[in-house]
Amino acid sequence: VTGSTSSTGSPTAPDPDRVDAGPAFAAAAARDGARSVHLRVAGRSMRLEATGDLLDALQPAFGHLVQDTPPPLGALSFRAWEHDQHRHPLWDPEAPAAYRTLAGGIVARGELHATPHLEAYRPGIGIELWGPPGALHHADHTLRPAGRSTFTWADGVGLRLLHAAAVEHDGTAALLVGPSGAGKTTTAIACAERGAGQLGDDTCLVDVGARVVHSLYATSAANPDTLGRSQGGTGPVLGEAATGKVVVPLAARGALRTEAPITALVVLRSEGDSPADGPRPLAVLPTSKALFASTLLPGVAHDRLEGWFADNLRLARTVPAFEVTRGWDLDRVVAQVREAIERGRRQLEAP
């Protein structure tokens, strides 16, 4: 453990930006074994290293981002370690459950099924996920492994993490937005089963300035009845999340994409059936309101609200938006999403 002298004025308190559990991780890796892979996340290299068989548990979430080459020097470190969390130097039950460090990192404690875990992102050290043996195999960790820490890292490199689904058609993508229950997952599943590429159906990394969406997690949480209505039935199931939803791999339902230019925002409405005359264009104001009502993720951007606010407005102003009413004629819904992507692409290409 290094950095036992705080840079913030206290001579004895450890500095959460400098405390390094690397040596402890190395000891655990020597004892339990560890494997690592090179991930490309939104064009950035990440070295994912996990003890024991944890890498297998994380594969459904990150498998689509794995590269054949070893990670370069300087790649962001992501260490997932199954070990008693209280042995981590950042473990402190007296500290707030989640706190922002002075250097822009985050440390968060969590508990799933009465089992605590710890996650952290510190600039210069990387992302860490710690939990006792077995805890990190829980479906919630497969759904969003070290979610808050990864999102904080993304925020620091100018990527916005949005609560939205994204599907690709002929090389460009639509962000599907709407409040819970509006049908993001249902629509994303329907699109994937009819040939669309998938970038995520719960969270997406968005480079707002470049109008590009990047895939992060290739896992999804869906209501069991939603899966039952899909063409492929339930398919493989990774487990049940704390919310009661079922965690499934996106790869089971169709092709995955890692990035695509965004040419449409599709605001989903859950009432009624889709009109036959195609997706309705939406003005900037209702689009902005729809984005504000649905794209914030708990624990992610709410301490950076100004950036989230500005990026939502920028998206609403620069990307053609359409409203699609999500009825149960899913063929029609999928056709309207495709039409929105194509019309948006033509609008953006027009001089």
């Binding site: 705080s6 500095d15 959460p16 500290a95 707030p96 902005s288 709410h302 100004e306 609403a316």
Partner: protein, 142 residues
């Protein structure tokens, strides 16, 4: 003199309505009617009596009363604060857009959305106390 607390909130005007995010509480407000013009005027220190007089002259006394009520509502929400005339501008000052009063008066309105505030309350993220370094709950500070 009153003015918008620009360090606390971010705002933008879209299609005649001003969207305001309170970065402290998380409340999102949408200002409608003439409220965006009032907001624009308050981006620099403004005398509310003078503002109300201007509204009364243009639209009548009831309109002026509604504008005063709007300013009071914004003040109660912590979005407007006292400002000294001629005070040096802070780094957060946002220049007014110069929005013009419309020919026809439209009652100022404030739509408030609480979704974001609820997420913040449900799942707070704390800042490290600069003086203490390692984070501690306030009750443990001593």
């Amino acid at each position: 003199m009153l003015m918008i607390d620009a360090a606390r909130c971010a705002a933008d005007t879209v299609e005649g309505e001003t969207l305001v995010i309170d970065t402290v509480s998380g409340h999102l407000r949408v200002l409608t009617g003439v409220a965006p013009i009032v907001w624009d005027r308050l981006l620099v220190p403004a005398d509310v009596d003078r503002l109300a007089a201007e509204v009364a002259e243009r639209y009548g006394a009831p309109a002026a009363a509604e504008v005063r009520a709007l300013v009071s509502e914004l003040e109660a929400a912590g979005l407007v604060l006292e400002a000294a005339e001629g005070a040096p501008p802070s780094e957060h000052v946002v220049p007014p857009q110069g929005l013009e009063w419309p020919e026809t008066y439209a009652t100022p309105g404030v739509e408030q959305y609480d979704d974001i505030a609820e997420i913040m309350l449900m799942d707070p993220v704390h800042e490290v106390d600069v003086a203490q370094g390692w984070p501690r709950k306030a009750t443990d500070a001593g």
